[in-house]
Amino acid sequence: MNCEARSDVRLVTAPFSQADELAAFAARYPEAGGIVSFLGQVRAGDGVEALELQHYEPLTLPAMEELAGRVHRRWRLDGMLVIHRSGAMAPGDPIVLVAAAARHRRDAFAAADFAMDHLKSESWFWKREKKDGAWRWIEPREQDLEDIARWG
């Protein structure tokens, strides 16, 4: 099973169109009956003016690719898509898009869910947000560790 060939994992520093990416992904796997996707976008409201994600080149993308491989080995998937932004973003901008294409719905849901839990808590990204003109680094959340514990 060649997992890498069926994973499309990208770290991008410019805005991307989730609609175009998902449409292309779905078209690539016509034999998959179901595609589950997660889109994370910069939340409007809460007074957040901007969000910035920092990555560390030698670690961030390799770890994302490793995660995609792990997901592929754990569930029966036709294909997997992981796109993560880095850099400065505005409210409404997409941050992350994960999609799993599978013959069976349950595999696609579990794979996307697992990938998000692990991306959020393990990925090499540092995040800061701008409120009232001031930047503030976001610290790790307890919730992320609980999310991961679900998978045993």
């Binding site: 560390y56 670690l59 808590s121 540092w126 680094w137």
Partner: protein
């Protein structure tokens, strides 16, 4: 040739920049000792991980540094 220090996340604020050059020292400990005390303390926090030339160090690793090496200081990632 100096070595490169990379400060991620909140460590960038403590260091005043995301990156700086430093004189070569034989060990990571000696490099940290050569920095301002406040920065040195922040880099030694138990939850800060280190990578040398893009390879994560385990706690027991004590690499010998060479000219041109890159040391990255990685605080906990931000999560969801």
């Amino acid at each position: 040739m100096p070595i490169d220090l990379i400060f991620l996340g909140r460590l960038e604020d403590v260091a005043g920049a995301g990156q700086r050059a430093a004189a070569l020292q034989p060990s990571v400990d000696a490099v940290i000792d050569s920095l301002e005390p406040e920065l040195a303390q922040a880099l030694r926090a138990p939850n800060v991980k280190l990578a040398v030339n893009g390879i994560l160090l385990r706690d027991t690793d004590a690499p010998v540094l060479r000219d041109g090496d890159e040391i990255a200081f990685l605080p906990p990632v931000s999560g969801g």
